[in-house]
C-alpha cells in the first residue's frame, strides 16, 4: 500500500457524485472525469461506491504489464500514471487488463486516460480532488493511521479476489473490522479461457 493513499469507504458513500464533478475540474484533464460511481445493489438498496484507479502493486499494475508501448509508467512512490500521450497507441490492452474497469480510451484522440491520483496535486502534498471534496469521507486521503485515528475501529484491505486471482492494490478499501479475507472483486461471471474458467472483464455474461 502507498504511504499516503486513498481509502474507499462504501458505508459512507451517499452517491452524490461530487467526486465525479471534482475530477472534471482537475487541471491535468479538465472537462473529463476519470471516476465513475457504481451501484452494487441496484434496485434493492441505494448503496453506491466510487471507482478510482486502485494503483495496483501486483508486482506492477496489470494495465502497465500489458501495455505494448510501455506508455503506462509507475512512479517511485507507486502511483500508476495515465498513459504517456507521446507513447500511447490507443490499443485498449489496458482496458481489457484492468480488473476494476478503470482505464478508458478517448476514441477521438486514440489515447488512454485514467485516474493518476491527481499527481499534479499529490506531488505538492495536497489531497486528490475527489478525496478533497468528498462530502462524507467515503474517499479519504491520508495514511492508515490517520484514518484509524479519525474512525476508531475501522480496518482496511488491499487484496481483491477475482475468482482465484488476487490483486493487491495501492488504494485501500475500508472493510468491517472482523474481515480479513480479500474483498470480492468484480462481477463473478466466469468465461472459459484455454479450457479454464477465468473471471470475465466485468461485462455481464
Amino acid at each position: 500500500m502507498l504511504g499516503r493513499t486513498i481509502f474507499i469507504d462504501p458505508g459512507r458513500c451517499i452517491g452524490c457524485q461530487a467526486c465525479v464533478s471534482a475530477c472534471r475540474e482537475c487541471d491535468s484533464h479538465r472537462g473529463k472525469s476519470m471516476i465513475h460511481l457504481d451501484y452494487p445493489d441496484e434496485g434493492h438498496t441505494v448503496a453506491s461506491l466510487p471507482t478510482v484507479c486502485m494503483h495496483c502493486e501486483d508486482p506492477v499494475a496489470p494495465c502497465a504489464e500489458v501495455c505494448p508501448a510501455e506508455a503506462i509508467l509507475i512512479t517511485a512512490d507507486g502511483v500508476v500514471q495515465e498513459a504517456d500521450p507521446t507513447r500511447c497507441i490507443g490499443c485498449a490492452n489496458c482496458v481489457n487488463a484492468c480488473p476494476f474497469g478503470v482505464p478508458k480510451i478517448d476514441l477521438e484522440a486514440k489515447l488512454q486516460m485514467k485516474c493518476n491520483l491527481c499527481y499534479d496535486r499529490t506531488s505538492y502534498g495536497l489531497a486528490p480532488m475527489c478525496a478533497t471534496v468528498c462530502p462524507t469521507g467515503a474517499l479519504f486521503y491520508g495514511t492508515v493511521e490517520e484514518l484509524q485515528a479519525e474512525r476508531p475501529g475501522v480496518d482496511v484491505s488491499t487484496m481483491f479476489a477475482f475468482g482465484d486471482t488476487v490483486v493487491s492494490t495501492g488504494v485501500a478499501m475500508v472493510v468491517p473490522a472482523e474481515r480479513r479475507a480479500p474483498v470480492p472483486g468484480g462481477m463473478l461471471n466466469l468465461i472459459e479461457v484455454n479450457g479454464r474458467p477465468t473471471p470475465g472483464n466485468g461485462a455481464r455474461a
Partner: protein, 766 residues
C-alpha cells in the same frame, strides 16, 4: 467534441472503451483557461443552507473559470456536485445581458435599454396602483438573495411600492419550522451548530434527505456515528443516509405528528422524561402529556404504517441517550400541519431535556442558501427587519423611524405566496415584481399558478437566466450572479458568512440592489434608497436589527472576513456571536421558558379513494437545486441527472424505464419508472426540479398549513397507470435569438431514469 453515443461494438471500438465527453457549463475551449496570474477569491457556495466555503478561480482577465476547495470551518474542503459546478453559471452562454421587454405576452421579447425597461416598469406600477389601489401591485422575493437584498426587497415593497403584498419563496421552505420555533422558543433558528452533532449519542433526523439535499452535512452525521452515536432516520424512502442508519422508520408521509406523539407517549410511560428540566424550564407540559396519552404505539403504528415495536425502540434509544439531538427538514414541514409536526419534535427534545448543551439540542436544516437570513430581514408578508412583527404597533414605530416614514404610512401585513397567486387569479393583484424566484416550477398545482400569472397585467422579473417564470413576464431585468456582488448569508446554523465579489458583471448586467434603488428613485423615494452597494445596505440592516432578537449589530464585513462567520444574535462589536442557543434552558420568551404546544394528528388534505389510493411525495435530487433554473443549464449536472423519474416499488409490476402515468386530482404526466425497493410500496416519489410537462408540482396540491401557509408538497393522493410514451423534458428557456446551450441538452432525451443515489433500479439498461 463528438457527443454521439459510441456503440460498444468490438468492430468499432475495443470492448470497454468509452468516448470521453466534455461536460460542463463552458464551451469546450474554455476548459483550457488562461491560468496565468490566477487568483483565488474566498467565498461560499450559492446553493444550500450548509453554505460551504470555496475559492473561485479567477484568471488574469478577471474572469471566473474554476473552483478550488477551501478549508472553511463549515465544510473543511468538502463540496457537493452543485457547489463544484456552481462557478459555471457565471460566464454561461445563457446569461441575460440586456433587459427584455414586451408590451403583451403575445409578442416575443426584444432586448431594450435599461432606460426603457425601467421607465416602462415605473409607468405600469403607477398605472396599476392609480387604477386599482396600492395593494394591486405585489412583490415576491427569494431566499437565495444575500441578506442585504432580502432587506431591500421588504423595504422597497413597503416604502417605494407602498404595498402590503410582499412575500418570498421561503414560504415554500422554512416557514413551518419558523412558526414552530417562534411559538416554542420565541426565536427562529436552529438551536445548535453542526459541530454539536459530532458530540451526540443519539441523532434523530426526520424528513430530511441529508445525503442529497445537504451532502456536506453528512460528514457530521457520519462523524457522530464514528463516535458510536445511534442514528435514527424518519423517512418514507430509504435515502443514502437511511441505508446505514441503526433505525430507519419508513413511515407514511403525512403521519409525523402521530409518530412523534407516540414516541413521547412511550418516553412518558417508561419514565424517561427529564422532570427537573420540565419543571424548571417549560410551560404546557401537563397538557402535552395528556394529549400524548391518547397516542399509544399501537394506534400510531396503524396511522404511520410502521411496526409498534419500532416506535418503542426509537423512544428508548432517544430517551435513554445522555445527549440526543433531533434535526428535521422539509419532509415534516411541507404539510398542512407542518408547524405542528415541528412542534412534536420540539416537545420530544424538551421532554427529554435535550436542549442547549453540546450534543443535545434541536435544529431545522434550511434549504436555500439564505433560507435562514431570508426570513429575518422583512421580506415575509408579516415581518419587518430584525424579525419584528408588522402587527405590533411598537415594532412598526421603530422600523418607520429607521426608514424615515410615518408609522401610518407603513402597510399592514400581506398574504402568503400561494395566496397571492389566488389573488392574481381573482384580479386583486394586477402587477408583480419577482426577484430571485421561479414559481412556475416551485409552487404547487401548476395549472393554478400559470392561470394566476397569466392574468397579471404587468409582470417584471429579476434573474440572470431566463427562468420559466421570467419567460412569462413583460419585463426581465438581467442581474448579477452571486459571484459578481458581495453580501452576507446566514446558513442553517444561523452563522452569518460573507460572500465576496470574484468578477465584474458582464456589460449590461446590474446588481439587484441597483435596480431596486433605481426604480425607487423613479417612484420618487430615491432619498430612502441612496445605497451605493451591499455594504451601505448592510450597515442599515445592522442598525435596523439592533436590539431585536435577530441582532446583527455586532456583525461587520470586516469581522466576517476575519472570523469566517458569526452566529447571531451578536449585539455588539466585541460580542463573539451565539453559536448555541438555550444554554441553561433559557429561551427567548419573556418568561425564559419553552412553551410546549399540544398537537393532534390529522390526515393530509388530499383524501385517498379507490381512484387515488397511493401517496405521491416529492423532493430533491443531489444534482439539482430547487426550480433548476441554474442547475438544469450546467452540463455536468444535467449529465448526472438529466430528467425526472417516478420511483416505484417492484410490487407494482413495472420494469425499469417503463412509461408510468402518474395521476392526481390536479393533473397527470408520464415519467420513466425507477423500480426500487428503497421506497414504501404505497408511495411514489417524483423529484420536483423540472418544469411542466414533467413538473412534480403539476401534480401536487395547493393546500396550505393554516398557520405557516406552507403548501403540502409532501403528500397527495395519486394513482399510477401504464402508459405509452414518456413526456419529454423541455429545454430551459433562453433569450430571443439564442440557441439552447448544447452542453445542457445532452441526455435530456434519455428515456431511462438517470443514475441517482437511488441507483438505476432493477432492470438492465437495454
Amino acid at each position: 467534441m463528438s457527443t454521439e453515443h459510441v456503440p460498444l461494438d468490438p468492430s468499432v471500438a475495443p470492448l470497454g472503451t468509452r468516448d470521453f465527453r466534455d461536460a460542463g457549463g463552458l464551451p469546450a475551449a474554455a476548459w483550457r483557461a488562461d491560468q496565468t496570474e490566477q487568483t483565488l477569491v474566498p467565498t461560499h457556495c450559492c446553493f444550500c443552507g450548509v453554505q460551504c466555503g470555496m475559492y473561485l478561480r479567477v484568471d488574469g482577465h478577471g474572469k471566473v473559470f474554476g473552483v478550488e476547495p477551501r478549508n472553511h470551518d463549515i465544510n473543511r474542503m468538502r463540496l457537493c456536485p452543485k457547489g463544484i459546478n456552481a462557478y459555471q453559471q457565471v460566464n454561461h452562454p445563457d446569461r441575460l445581458t440586456a433587459p427584455l421587454v414586451r408590451r403583451s405576452r403575445d409578442e416575443p421579447f426584444r432586448e431594450a435599454s435599461w432606460e426603457e425597461a425601467l421607465d416602462h416598469t415605473v409607468a405600469e406600477i403607477r398605472r396599476i396602483q392609480g387604477e386599482r389601489g396600492r395593494d394591486a401591485f405585489g412583490m415576491l422575493g427569494g431566499a437565495s438573495l444575500f441578506s442585504e437584498k432580502t432587506y431591500l426587497v421588504g423595504k422597497f415593497a413597503r416604502v417605494a411600492l407602498k404595498t402590503r403584498h410582499v412575500d418570498y419563496n421561503g414560504r415554500l421552505c422554512m416557514v413551518s419550522a419558523a412558526g414552530a420555533n417562534k411559538l416554542a422558543f420565541g426565536i427562529d433558528r436552529a438551536a445548535n451548530p453542526f459541530a454539536d452533532i459530532l458530540q451526540t449519542d443519539c441523532l434523530l433526523i426526520a424528513g430530511s434527505n441529508v445525503g442529497e439535499c445537504f451532502p456536506v452535512m453528512t460528514q457530521y452525521v457520519w462523524g457522530a456515528r464514528d463516535r458510536g452515536a445511534t442514528l435514527i432516520i424518519v423517512d418514507p424512502r430509504q435515502t443514502a443516509v437511511a441505508r446505514t442508519a441503526d433505525i430507519h422508520v419508513a413511515l407514511k408521509s403525512g403521519t409525523d405528528a402521530a409518530f412523534f406523539n407516540a414516541v413521547l407517549h412511550v418516553i412518558v410511560a417508561e419514565g424517561l422524561t427529564d422532570e427537573a428540566f420540565l419543571a424548571e424550564h417549560t410551560t404546557g407540559w401537563d397538557e402535552v402529556k395528556a394529549t400524548v396519552a391518547a397516542y399509544p404505539p399501537s394506534r400510531a403504528a396503524e396511522i404511520c404504517g410502521v411496526p409498534a415495536e419500532q416506535i418503542v425502540q426509537v423512544a428508548r434509544v432517544f430517551g435513554r441517550a445522555e445527549r440526543a439531538m433531533a434535526w428535521h427538514a422539509r419532509g415534516i414541514e411541507h404539510h398542512t400541519q407542518g408547524v405542528e409536526n415541528c412542534l412534536t419534535v420540539i416537545n420530544l427534545c424538551t421532554a427529554t431535556g435535550n436542549l442547549g448543551r453540546p450534543g443535545a439540542g434541536y435544529g431545522t436544516i434550511t434549504g436555500q442558501g439564505n433560507g435562514q437570513g431570508g426570513r429575518e430581514h422583512g421580506q415575509k408578508s408579516d415581518l419587518l427587519p430584525g424579525g419584528r412583527s408588522i402587527n405590533d404597533p411598537a415594532h412598526r414605530r421603530q422600523v418607520a423611524a429607521i426608514w424615515g416614514i410615518e408609522e401610518s404610512e407603513l402597510p399592514q401585513a400581506g398574504t402568503s405566496m400561494m395566496e397571492m397567486v389566488w389573488q392574481m387569479q381573482r384580479g386583486e393583484i394586477r402587477g408583480l415584481i419577482g426577484v430571485c424566484n421561479n414559481p412556475f416550477v416551485s409552487l404547487p398545482n401548476y395549472a393554478v399558478v400559470k392561470d394566476g400569472y397569466d392574468k397579471l397585467e404587468f409582470h417584471a422579473q429579476f434573474d440572470f437566466f431566463l427562468s420559466e417564470t421570467a419567460a412569462n413576464a413583460h419585463v426581465v431585468f438581467p442581474v448579477t450572479t452571486w459571484a459578481e456582488d458581495e453580501g452576507v448569508m446566514a446558513n442553517a446554523e444561523a452563522r452569518v458568512v460573507k460572500h465576496n465579489k470574484a468578477q465584474d458583471p458582464p456589460p449590461g448586467v446590474r446588481t439587484d440592489t441597483w435596480v431596486m434603488c433605481e426604480i425607487a428613485r423613479r417612484l420618487g423615494e430615491g432619498s430612502k434608497f441612496a445605497f451605493e452597494g451591499s455594504k451601505d445596505v448592510f450597515d442599515e440592516l445592522r442598525r435596523a436589527s439592533a436590539g431585536t432578537v435577530i441582532d446583527y449589530y455586532g456583525i461587520t464585513y470586516e469581522r466576517l472576513e476575519q472570523t469566517g462567520g458569526i452566529a447571531w444574535p451578536c449585539p455588539s462589536l466585541e460580542h463573539p456571536g451565539t453559536p448555541r442557543l438555550f444554554e441553561g434552558g433559557k429561551t427567548y420568551h419573556a418568561d425564559g421558558k419553552v412553551h410546549m404546544q399540544v398537537v393532534e394528528w390529522h390526515p393530509p388534505a388530499d383524501p385517498y379513494s379507490d381512484e387515488y389510493p397511493m401517496t405521491l411525495t416529492t423532493g430533491r435530487t443531489v444534482a439539482h437545486f430547487l426550480s433548476g433554473n441554474q442547475t438544469r443549464r450546467l452540463g455536468g449536472l444535467v449529465e448526472q441527472t438529466p430528467r425526472p423519474w417516478v420511483e416505484v416499488h417492484p410490487s407494482h409490476g413495472f420494469r425499469n424505464g417503463e412509461a408510468v402515468r402518474v395521476v392526481t386530482r390536479r393533473g397527470s404526466e408520464v415519467l420513466p419508472a425507477l423500480v426500487t425497493e428503497a421506497i414504501r410500496p404505497d408511495h411514489v416519489f417524483v423529484p420536483y426540479h423540472w418544469p411542466y410537462p414533467v413538473a412534480a408540482n403539476a401534480l401536487t396540491i395547493d393546500a396550505l398549513d393554516p398557520r405557516s401557509k406552507i403548501p403540502e408538497y409532501k403528500v397527495c393522493a395519486v394513482r399510477i397507470e401504464r402508459a405509452e410514451r414518456i413526456d419529454p423534458v423541455p429545454a430551459p428557456p433562453v433569450p430571443p435569438g439564442r440557441a439552447a446551450y448544447p452542453e445542457a441538452q445532452v441526455s435530456r432525451t434519455d428515456p431511462l431514469p438517470p443514475t441517482s443515489p437511488q441507483g438505476r433500479g432493477t432492470a438492465e439498461r437495454g
